[in-house]
Structure formats: structure tokens, C-alpha cells
Symmetry: C2
Subunit: 452 residues, 2 copies
């Protein structure tokens, strides 16, 4: 009985897969937040190094991964693919469940896949410091680690609710030499403005992004790094799906359905885009993005132009959005508390290539606990949304008398989220249903875009 499928180090992919040229509809332009007209690559130069801007907009289908980045990835990649025999047995399902485990990375999630690439390109172009935001701390700790590898200082604006819920994530970033501020902070104009309006603000990814962007834009030697949403980040994550395809072949199976949790979109894109490529080439495969019911961007949001941040400093992109000033409830899956979504994933949902589902957190923790007890890995609250979707897929398949091959991305472990498990076990966890009124309110504030 084989439990895991490993690949040798030389099977770390040599190219990232850029899905942009393969989208069913051409990508929408990126707009300037002031003029609401298309930006030119040079408009992004205060925020990103030139190679990242090229990757963000490039139409090359396969982008070579620099050797230095492959060497950094070799610390933990290829990541293992597991057959979840024990979970299958506990569910009593006929379906075969596989998971790609990204928790083996230094920071315990998929995030370093893009962090090392971004740190590499910034260092190569002479940048000295990176400013970024983080939700649950997965991205911040990944960039702290990557900055350390390539000799860059890192400043992290960490969403306040997570800063308080997950103190060890903060410690991890400091251990890797990063400077960490709870966001909204008094370090930036954006942060001070939010604090004036609401001194008790929980923070949100939208606010923390505003702070990090302002920090980068106002310091000569500093650029900005984003852990999700953007095209280049999704592309960097495609090493996950490329490896998974090869490992599924070792297992002698091809998935009927591929599942990832969805916040900004990067881990979902990572596992799903290489399969989306297959699908657009005629292969039968379903792609399912699982998001929180309390922040239901793909299932309830509008596909429209919106700002990436709360304070309207970032470019405006066409994406599924709940409105840039929507404040999600303080659920434990901090990494999924984002009003927007990857424009690429949004476009694929709009085109019907990707399906989306939404779950409330208690059901996700229940699924995560079953997973921990059977498979022995305690999942991150974000990843628990994917597990919940897997459990539902297997149940439906059994009801229909079918046997499905289900593949999902276990994007990270929950070693820094155990307070949330405590709260769940003590019965103290709240479910947040679809926050209709708050969303309707923020939807009223979408920018009015008229393209010339």
C-alpha cells in the first residue's frame, strides 16, 4: 500500500506555466487607481522590479525558472503527494483521495514558492528592502525567509486580528530577521487614517496592502511584494500542479476533480492551472475553488473592476470582488479574508472553467479535525476549506454510486493556528453566514470605470 509519491530533486519544474495566453477571453487591462485608465508597465516600476512586471503582463506560455530559484526551492521541493488511505477509510468512501502537501516548506505553506522568486528578482535588480502585508502570517514569514536567503530586509504589515491570534507567526518572521507591524499601524498615512476612523479596527488584507504599497512607494530602495492575487504570483505557484501531475501519473491515476482553497487565489492557481491547461485542451477534469462563506468572493462577488486595497492605492483590476471596503469577519482562516480574487481565477470562474463553493468555518474545522486524526497532519484553517470540499465531493460520489479520483492541495499546516483548534474543541467557534448587508454596502463603492 503506497502512501506517498516522491520525486527526485531534478524533477523540480524548469518552467512556470503562464496561463495568460490560454485564457478563454483576453485579459482585461490593469487600470491606474487615479485616472482609472490602463496603466503602462513603467507605472508599476515604483512597486515592482522590471522582471516581475514583465512576468505580470507577459504572454510567454512557459517561463524558465532561474537556477538560483530552483536551488532555493530544492530545500523542500518537490513536495510530497499523499494518498489519503486513512481519511478514505474513515469516510467509508469508494473515492480515491490524494493530496499535495505544501506544508513541508520552511514557513509551512505554499507561499515560499513565490517568495523566493520575488526576493531573487528584487535582489538581482538592486532592491534593498521589501514591504509586504500578511493575513495569517503565512506570506509574511515566507517573504522573511526568502529575504534572508537573498540578503534583503523585509517589513511586514500583519493584519491586526491575526497579529493577536497567531503570535508565533510574528515570532517566526522576527526569527528570520523581518520587522513586523500590526496593521492598521501608525507607520503609514493609510494606517493612521484607518485608525482615526476606527481605533479598534481588526485590520484586513485590503488595509495592510495599502500600508505596504505606501511604504514601498515612499522609499527609494524599497519595493512591494504581494503573496497572492497577481498573475506572476499565480504563475510562480504552478510548480505545485506540475509536480502533482507527474506524481499522479506515478500513482497511475488522473483526477476527476482538483480542489484548492481560495483567498487571493495563489494556492488554488498553483494546483489547478496546469490542470486547467489540460482542460482547455479537451481533458475532462473539474476544478473547484473552496472559499469561506463569510468572505464569498467567487460565489457571491461581482465580476467587476475594483481596487486591490481598501485605501485605493493599488491598480484597479477586473476580478470577483465584494468591494474594496468590505470588512470580512475575523475568521481563523486569515489568509482567506480578502475582498477580491486573482483576476486569472476570476476570469476562469466567469468562463465556467473553474467552479466555486463556500463553507462556514465550523464545518471546515470538523473536516480538518477528521483529517488530523486520520492523516496525522493538522491543517491550516485556510486549507480546511479544501478538505471540507473534498469530504463533500466524496460523499456526493458515494451517493451517486460513483468512484471519483479527488486531488487537493493541502496548502499548509496549522502549527500556528492551534488556538483556533482549541476554540473549536471547546465549542467556542462562531459561524459567520453570508454577510449580505455589508457586501451590498461595499458594492455601492465600486469605481465607475469607462474605458476610452
Amino acid at each position: 500500500m503506497t502512501t506517498k509519491y516522491l520525486l527526485p530533486e531534478d524533477r523540480i519544474p524548469r518552467h512556470w506555466y503562464n496561463i495568460l495566453p490560454d485564457l478563454p477571453t483576453p485579459p482585461s487591462p490593469v487600470l491606474h487607481p487615479g485616472t482609472l485608465q490602463p496603466v503602462k508597465p513603467e507605472d508599476l516600476a515604483p512597486l515592482f522590479p522590471s522582471r516581475i512586471i514583465e512576468q505580470e503582463m507577459g504572454m510567454e506560455r512557459e517561463v524558465a525558472i532561474p537556477e538560483e530559484v530552483r536551488e532555493a526551492l530544492a530545500r523542500w521541493r518537490p513536495s510530497p503527494l499523499f494518498r489519503a488511505h486513512a481519511l478514505e477509510k474513515a469516510l467509508g468512501t469508494r473515492s480515491h483521495i490524494y493530496y499535495k502537501y505544501e506544508g513541508v516548506s520552511p514557513s509551512g505553506s505554499h507561499k515560499p514558492n513565490s517568495a523566493v522568486a520575488q526576493a531573487f528578482y528584487n535582489a538581482k535588480e538592486g532592491v534593498k528592502r521589501l514591504a509586504t502585508e500578511t493575513g495569517a502570517g503565512q506570506w509574511g514569514s515566507s517573504l522573511a525567509f526568502a529575504g534572508q536567503l537573498f540578503g534583503l530586509a523585509v517589513t511586514v504589515y500583519m493584519v491586526k486580528v491575526s497579529h493577536e491570534q497567531k503570535p508565533y507567526r510574528r515570532s517566526m518572521m522576527r526569527t528570520w530577521g523581518a520587522e513586523v507591524f500590526a496593521s492598521p499601524s501608525s507607520q503609514t498615512q493609510a494606517g493612521r487614517r484607518i485608525l482615526e476612523e476606527d481605533p479598534k479596527s481588526n485590520g484586513s488584507l485590503g488595509i495592510a496592502i495599502s500600508e505596504a504599497v505606501e511604504d514601498a512607494a515612499t522609499h527609494e530602495d524599497t519595493k512591494y511584494a504581494l503573496g497572492s492575487v497577481l498573475n506572476h504570483v499565480c504563475m510562480h505557484q504552478t510548480v505545485i500542479g506540475q509536480e502533482a501531475r507527474e506524481q499522479m501519473a506515478l500513482a497511475g491515476e488522473y483526477p476527476d476533480v482538483v480542489i484548492g482553497c481560495h483567498g487571493g487565489g495563489s494556492n488554488f492557481a498553483g494546483i489547478a492551472f496546469p490542470y486547467a491547461r489540460d482542460k482547455m485542451n479537451g481533458k475532462q477534469v473539474r476544478l473547484v475553488a473552496a472559499e469561506p462563506a463569510s468572505c464569498p468572493t467567487l460565489t457571491r462577488g461581482t465580476y467587476a473592476f475594483d481596487y486591490g486595497d481598501t485605501v485605493k492605492m493599488t491598480p484597479v483590476v477586473k476580478m470577483h470582488t465584494l468591494g474594496h471596503d468590505f470588512m470580512p469577519p475575523g475568521i481563523h482562516a486569515g489568509g482567506l479574508r480578502y475582498h477580491g480574487a486573482s483576476p486569472l481565477v476570476s476570469s476562469l470562474v466567469h468562463a465556467g472553467v473553474v467552479e466555486a463553493v463556500a463553507y462556514t468555518q465550523k464545518g471546515c474545522f470538523e473536516a480538518a479535525l477528521l483529517f488530523a486524526k486520520t492523516e496525522g497532519i493538522i491543517p491550516a484553517p485556510e486549507s480546511s476549506h479544501a478538505i471540507k470540499a473534498v469530504v463533500e465531493e466524496a460523499r456526493k460520489a458515494d451517493e451517486e454510486g460513483r468512484e471519483r479520483v479527488i486531488l487537493f492541495n493541502l496548502s499548509g499546516h496549522g502549527h500556528f493556528d492551534l488556538a483556533a483548534y482549541d476554540q473549536y474543541l471547546a465549542g467556542g467557534l462562531e459561524d459567520h453566514e453570508y454577510p449580505r448587508e455589508a457586501i451590498e454596502r461595499s458594492m455601492g463603492n465600486l469605481p465607475k470605470v469607462e474605458l476610452g
Copy 2:
């Protein structure tokens, strides 16, 4: 440049290596705590299932690993062996440094290697519940996980200072369904007696062992499980060294020195015993156990008969000891705060097969931080003692103009120990030197053994 050496699942060892028949001097008898005369196997029956008692005393050199145990180990084994290129570069050393990484297990350390074996044998013999102690929580969480796998309830007595320092370890045990008490607790006579004498007692492994042994001895359906020290535990851990030997061969090298941290002895035995076998067969290899200067069992203790616990309930064994009522300072490496040592490792130190070194904690954290920044893994405080020894070995080799091949066991990650890193980074960590007076005092209380 190869970073890691992986083995396929079918290379999980098929046998444990039992060093007992190969010891340079025959093993000393195990004594009854009341009579101080040799015990018979049946005297241990209230504590352990029969197959474990056989393994504790057996003289079979290779003991077959049951398939059910190999399947459980396959969740994370074979564990990876890494070449520490980045650490070597940072040290500027000519030496080659390799580490076997046991942090990939469910609980993040080597401990599940024995936990799954012990849970399997107990379940097979109809035991319903296991009682155990834990220091930093590595063993307790491992047994919680293993109990879950084989359908056993688990009760853990957790040393109070760690219970407070490492709340997430506690949560992890509860997530895997275990019942956890801070020790000394009011659950047992032993605990109540200690609390009467010192209501503010920090606890120690010796006390927690007394509580777990009492719990097992006074409940029909319950047995005791120990995470270190005993022969069968050391034997279960030899999968580490067996895999490492094979992986070092893949790397085309044989170590000049093999290093592990040392508390009770299990992770050290795991990496070192298969090499000790080579050494006793004439191979040139140094074996170095690294322990805390504040609890210097191997470097400063006496090789004598002593109790395994504080309240004198366990059998009496010949080992390096600081005295069963020695109370170690509350250092962060909770897993190394034990007054005694594995009788097997003690015997090998006594025979000159194994060397021992001791370090204070600040130097260990400094080495651990360097490791985290270069290799990307945040080590457990216990493992940091091995890293400190590695740094010293490499430095000495460079001074002597030599190039050494150094292999060490990175026994676990420090995801639950980040408060300790915070304290170190903030300059708030204390060093505890050799506690001479306390040790001299406890040495006066060794049992007076006269064998017939």
C-alpha cells in the same frame, strides 16, 4: 548541487537494531524499586505489554518491524537527509555537514517512531488506555497521535513549566484526542505529595513519570508508555540511523562524526546506534552526545544505579544520573531536563564508545538561529544542542586544517517553541551553568544497591 537525499517508501527499514547483544560490557540488571533486587519480566507486566517487555530485555540483534508499524511510519518515513550547503557557507567551513530531519513527522520530531510501535503492541494486547509523561510536549503529542491511529485513549502528564511555556503543544495533544494534565497534578498521589511540599513546583520529567506510572499501575485497562531512556524506545528509533547510513551512501560519504542531542537518549540512540555497530566492528567514527550544561547527566553525572523517577516508583537501572531528586533549571529544551539517561547510552559512554559534550542555552540558540536563517528550518531547542556541537566540530576541524564529514540528527522543529526564540531575540534568556550544589545534594540520595 544536491540538497537532499530521499529514499522510497519500501526502504523504510524492516528491522530495528537492538544494540544490547553488542555492548562492550554485559548489561546490568534492572532492579525492583522496593527490594533493590533484579526484577523478573513479569514484574513489569502492570506497566508494559508482553511484547514490549520482551523487546526491553531481548538479545536478538535484529527485531522485525510489524507491517502495521511500517505502514504507520510510511506517513512520513523515510525522512529526508539534507546536505547543509547554506550553513557550511555561512560558517565558511571546509567540512561537509549533513542532517537527518525528523521534523517531518506528524508531531514534528523523532518521537512518533517509537510511539506508533508502542501503541500498536498495546492495542494488540487489548490495552484500552496509555498513560505517559511529556517534557516539552514532543512525546505526549506523538503518543496522542499514535493512540488515535490504533484506537487507544491517551492521558498525558505534562511538566508544568512546559505546559505554561508551550500551550500549542497542549492544544496539539487535545486535537489528537488526548487528556492532558499539568504535572505535578492533583490526579495522583505522587503529584499531590509533591504539591504539598512545593505548591509552586515547576515540575520535572522525573515527577511526571511518577504520575504516569502510578496512573497505569492503579488502572486495570491502562499501561504506561515511555518516550525515551528504555532499551525498547532506543531500539525503535534506530530506523533513523539505518536510513541515514543508506542516504549517506547515496551522497557518497561516510561520517567522521555523528552528533545528536541527549536528554533521555532516544534520538541520539536513533542516529548513533547503527553507527556504533559499525564502530564496534572496527569502523572509524566518532559518536557525540550533546546535552545542556544545566542538566549535564553524561558529562557530570555518576554511572550508578538510580530510580528513573523522583518518587521512586520506577525500576532502578544503572545509568548516568544526577540523582533522582535533582530538579533541573527551567530551560527551554524541556525534553532534555531529565536527571538520568538511557542505560544503553550510559554504558557506551562508560565504555568510551560515545563522547559527551555540554552547552549552555544561549550558545545553542545562537547556533539554532544561524541554522534557521541559512537552512530555513527553525530547530527545536533540544536539537539546537546538536547544532551547537556541529558548529564547534566544524570550527575545530578548520583550525586543524582538516575537512570533516559531520552528520547530525535534527530531531525536531521549533514551531511550538517560538516564545523561546522571542525571548532569545529580546536578550531575555538566562544561561544556567553547572548546578554543582544541587547535584551534589541529590547525589547523596542515590539508592544503596547490594546485589546478591
